[in-house]
Each structure stands twice: as structure tokens, then as C-alpha cells.
């Protein structure tokens, strides 16, 4: 096993453990936004789309690079936007309430 592969494997395993640990019991209210937020994070695949676009040198590869960039961009841009919209609905309410209280 090369040193590079071992390093990557170690990172992979430890990241899995972090993922299991960081996700203790979460309230049902937040499960849908959490899923959407996690969905946005795997949009990091967009970094990979840049990497392959830099290596493309003929049409089949350009087409694949285009597809990769398009798919990944939809995932990352859409994912963060919709998660923020969902979560914005939760914190808008107490904030509006606070303002109301301030006026009184």
C-alpha cells in the first residue's frame, strides 16, 4: 500500500467516525433541514469537477467535464440555498417577536 493511499484511507475512516459522533439525537423538527444541509455538503464534489476540467483534452472528456460541473453546481448552489430558506423560517419568527416586544 502506498503512503498516499494509507493517508487517504486513514482520513476516510476517521471522518466516518467524526460523522457518526457529531450526529447524536437531533430533534425531529430539524431532521429535514439537516438532511438538506448534509446534501449541500456533498456538493463539495464541485471541487472534483474543477480537477477533471483541468485535465480534459478532447471532446468526450470535455463533455464529461461539462456534465460534472453542471451536476455538481446544481447540488452545491441549490443545496445551500434551499437549506438556508428552510432554516430562515425557523429563526424569522422569534426575531420578529423580539422586534414586536422592543416596540412595546
Amino acid at each position: 500500500m502506498s503512503e498516499e493511499l494509507f493517508t487517504n484511507l486513514a482520513i476516510f475512516v476517521l471522518s466516518l467516525l467524526v460523522g457518526f459522533e457529531v450526529m447524536s439525537k437531533i430533534p425531529a423538527t430539524l431532521q429535514t433541514p439537516m438532511m438538506s444541509g448534509a446534501n449541500a455538503i456533498h456538493g463539495v464534489v464541485v471541487v472534483g469537477a474543477f480537477v477533471i476540467a483541468a485535465e480534459a483534452n478532447s471532446w468526450p472528456f470535455y463533455i464529461l467535464a461539462f456534465l460534472g460541473a453542471f451536476f455538481a453546481a446544481v447540488n452545491v448552489a441549490g443545496g445551500y440555498t434551499v437549506t438556508d430558506r428552510m432554516l430562515g423560517m425557523f429563526d424569522r419568527k422569534p426575531a420578529a417577536k423580539q422586534e414586536e416586544a422592543d416596540h412595546k
Binding site: 457529531v22 430539524l30 449541500a40 456533498h42 464541485v46 483541468a54 460534472g68 448552489a77 432554516l87
Partner: protein, 471 residues
């Protein structure tokens, strides 16, 4: 390591920290939005880093730039417009769509790097194994998530789709995937090997998702979300990029835990869900065979209006039917009419009400229902004893008192104690059972009245009737 590699590795590390902290913060309602923001900052850092890296390395040619920028621009435009415009009822299928393209992108990266080696090149296992896993898992999530999107949006029938020989076909497809794995790992590159792996995994994704009922889709979407995380991590192995490995593995693991928690909240096991054939989703649309039993009392919008107008405490119990009929505006209007006249209105929200766990809170928040009126299960249950009228809208299993008894499909499921309130009005399209397929004795209780209607239309009529009595 060159200076560029050192700096970019360090920034990738910072962005990985942002994802972990972001997910951590998303566990609490107070910090959730900032958590998502922090994770977005991490993403921004990673993207800036890769832009600088490819400019400095200079291997990208002009056509490469054009396809990259065009793809990104179209993708961002499509993603952001969709995410901004989508009605809150349709969020689950949109998340599933975003998940599908994420898996697709991971598969594309694997295919690209495999083909780039050139025909007939010898491969090491350290390369071919991650490529295979990346392409297969990415392919499964791509087609599986698209079917899930279709089922949630009604473009694909929500009922479980099965056909004779499905099991045999499944076995054949799995064998074909293993054969493609053998070819990809044991011999030199050949474009057909990777096409076989991709095609079979796409078919497997379809076969896996089609037999699962619409009501179980949220859990499946969450599971496929975890799969995509893993596909992205393997793509990281393929292109030797650690931020993909970290973020992918993080989502893979966190998504798995989330899937288990969701299944738990719905009183289902993941294994049961994947076995399929259960849960018809929009079961309320089912046939006229669901005759109304004689012991059920029917009522009218006019009568409900009268009851509500003379009540002190009203509890609204929204369910899947309300989300499906997109009646959240009507229910908020009814609540406003009542609260304006000094009647106490609260919402009893079951954890799995709506189309996904927590989805009902999002829907109600969207139509400006005050946060303090939304009562979670533990808060709501003690309140039913003092409730004059419980208005159950398109909910069924979550109110079924049979859950307190043993020996049936929903035994032990946490329920809302609607039956303890003085009077219960159920708005429902028919007597059909909920997705657990169990009869609900609540409907034939002495203090229960049924109003057979679509949630949206029924609520409009009730609002009109109530106004008439309150003025």
C-alpha cells in the same frame, strides 16, 4: 509538497473543519442557520482554493475553461432558481433531485479518470477499486434519487411498483455489477467495463426504489443522501483530493445516523423499508371500496363552524393530507379567524407529520404560524384534556389509539392523544387507512365527527362557516 500544495491542503483542512462544526451547529434550532452558513463558508474556501490551484498549475486549456464555466453557470442558475422558487410542500423532492445530481457528478469523475488512463492501460487496485465504488454508488444514487423525486412529486406513482421476476432481475443485475467489478479490477482498462458498471448500477437504483411506497420515500432519500456522501469520498480517492474524502465520509456517516433516526421516528426499520411493497403514500386517493361504516358520524362545514365559534380551546392536528393538499394557508387563516375572537388555537405537531420528519413545522412557519403555537408531541399531549375541539386534518396513524395497545402494526408508536379531547372533528377524504394499513378506532368514537373532504376545500368551507357565526 510545493508551496501551493501546502497552502491549498491547509485551506482544505479549514473548510473540512467548517463542515464538521456546521453539522454540529445544525443540531440545535438556535444555531442551525449559522451552522449551514459556516458550512457554506467552508465550501466557498474550497472552491476558491481549487480555482487558484488550476490557474497556477495551468494545465487547463481554453475549451476546458469554457465547458467548466458554462457548466457551473448553468448549474448555479438552475439550482438557485429552483431552490428559491420551490413551494415548501415540494422541498423533499427538490432535496432528492439535488442528491441525484451530486451522485451523478461523483460517477462522472470516476468515469473520467478511468477513461483518461487510455485504452488498455494497466491499473493498480488502489485506483480501480475506488473508481468502481465511485461509479457504482454514484450511479445507484443518481437513478434511485430521480425515482424518489418522481414518486414524491407524483410523476411516478407513489404506490409500490412490483412485477413478476423482479427478484430474479435484481439478482442478475447484482451479478452483472460484480462481473463489471472483476473486469475493472483484474484487467486493463476498457471503456465497456465502466459502461457496464454504470448501466447496471443505474438499473439497480431503479429496481431498488420502485418497489418502495411513497410514504417511506423520505427515509430512502436520506439513505441515498448518505450513499452520495460515500460516492463523493471515493471520488476523492480517485482524484487524490482530501477535502472530498473528508466531506464525503462525514455526510456518509452522519446521513446514515439521520436515516436511522428518521426511520425510528416513523416507527419503521430501514430493512423493512428497503424490502418494499409497504406504504402506498397517497393512500387517501384510493378506491371507493372504502365504504363509510354505519357507526361513523358525518358532519358538515356549517356544524364545525358552529362548534369552533363556541369553543375556548382549539387544537389543530395537521397531517400528511394537509401537506399533500397544500392547505397550510387555509389552516393558518382559520386559526387567525379564531384567535382574533379570543379563542386559543394551538397546533399539535407529530414528529413525522407532513412528508418528512419536521416538515410540518417548516410548512406552518412558511405561512407565518407563530412559533409558540406549534406544540411538539410531549407538549401537546397534556393539553388535549382541556381541548374543546380537536381538528384533525389529513392525519390518521399518528392519532390512532391502537398504538397504545400491543399486537398490531403501530404498537408502541408515539401518538397524539386526540381521543382525550372533548370533541374531535376529522377532515379526511375517505375512510381509507393510513399508510400503516390499520383501521383507526378514533373515527368511530362517540365524540368524533367526520367531515369527508379534501383538506383545502374543506377548510375553505369551514372558514366561511366560522366567520358567519363569529360575526
Amino acid at each position: 509538497m510545493s508551496a501551493l500544495q501546502t497552502v491549498s491542503s491547509l485551506i482544505y483542512l479549514i473548510s473540512a473543519v467548517c463542515y464538521v462544526l456546521g453539522v454540529h451547529m445544525m443540531r440545535s434550532p438556535k444555531t442551525a442557520r449559522h451552522g449551514n452558513g459556516l458550512s457554506a463558508v467552508g465550501m466557498f474556501l474550497a472552491v476558491i482554493t481549487i480555482i487558484v490551484t488550476i490557474i497556477v498549475e495551468g494545465t487547463i486549456d481554453s475549451v476546458g475553461w469554457i465547458v467548466l464555466i458554462l457548466g457551473l453557470a448553468l448549474g448555479i442558475l438552475y439550482g438557485v432558481v429552483k431552490a428559491r422558487k420551490v413551494p415548501m410542500t415540494d422541498v423533499p423532492q427538490l432535496v432528492s433531485l439535488f442528491n441525484a445530481v451530486g451522485g451523478g457528478a461523483a460517477a462522472v469523475i470516476g468515469i473520467f479518470d478511468y477513461l483518461l488512463k487510455g485504452d488498455g492501460a494497466a491499473l493498480s487496485l488502489a485506483f480501480s477499486l475506488p473508481v468502481f465504488l465511485d461509479v457504482v454508488i454514484g450511479g445507484i444514487t443518481f437513478s434511485g434519487s430521480l425515482i424518489a423525486t418522481g414518486k414524491l412529486s407524483g410523476k411516478v406513482p407513489g404506490k409500490p411498483i412490483t412485477f413478476p421476476g423482479a427478484r430474479l432481475l435484481n439478482i442478475i443485475v447484482v451479478i452483472a455489477i460484480l462481473v463489471s467489478a472483476w473486469f475493472m479490477m483484474a484487467s486493463t482498462t476498457n471503456v465497456w467495463y465502466v459502461i457496464l458498471a454504470l448501466a447496471m448500477s443505474l438499473i439497480f437504483g431503479l429496481l431498488m426504489t420502485l418497489p418502495i411506497g411513497g410514504a417511506d420515500m423520505p427515509v430512502v432519500v436520506s439513505l441515498l443522501n448518505a450513499f452520495t456522501g460515500l460516492a463523493v469520498a471515493f471520488a476523492g480517492f480517485v482524484i487524490n483530493n482530501q477535502v472530498l474524502i473528508i466531506a464525503g465520509a462525514l455526510v456518509g456517516a452522519a446521513g446514515t445516523i439521520l436515516t436511522l433516526q428518521m426511520a425510528d421516528a416513523m416507527n419503521r426499520s430501514v430493512a423493512n423499508i428497503l424490502a418494499g411493497g409497504f406504504g402506498t403514500g397517497d393512500s387517501d386517493t384510493s378506491s371507493a371500496a372504502d365504504a363509510v361504516p354505519v357507526d361513523v358520524k358525518e358532519t358538515s362545514a356549517d356544524d364545525i363552524g358552529l362548534q369552533l365559534a363556541y369553543a375556548h380551546n382549539v387544537m389543530i392536528v395537521p397531517g400528511y393530507g394537509l401537506a399533500a393538499a397544500q392547505a397550510q394557508h387555509e389552516v393558518a387563516e382559520l386559526a387567525k379567524v379564531l384567535t382574533d375572537k379570543g379563542i386559543n388555537v394551538d397546533y399539535a405537531i407529530h414528529p413525522v407529520a407532513g412528508r418528512m420528519p419536521g416538515h410540518m413545522n417548516v410548512l406552518l412557519a412558511d405561512v407565518n404560524v407563530p412559533y409558540e403555537q406549534m406544540k411538539q408531541l410531549d407538549e401537546a399531549n397534556p393539553m388535549f384534556e382541556n381541548t374543546d375541539v380537536s381538528l384533525v386534518i389529513g392525519a390518521n396513524d399518528v392519532t390512532n389509539p391502537l398504538a397504545r395497545e400491543s399486537g398490531n402494526e403501530i404498537s408502541g408508536m408515539p401518538i397524539l392523544d386526540v381521543d382525550k379531547s372533548k370533541s374531535v372533528v376529522v377532515i379526511k377524504r375517505s375512510m381509507s387507512t393510513g399508510y400503516a394499513g390499520v383501521q383507526n378506532p378514533l373515527f368511530s368514537m362517540d365524540n368524533t365527527q367526520m367531515f369527508f373532504s379534501d383538506a383545502k376545500k374543506g377548510l375553505q368551507d369551514i372558514v366561511a362557516a366560522t366567520k358567519q357565526y363569529l360575526e
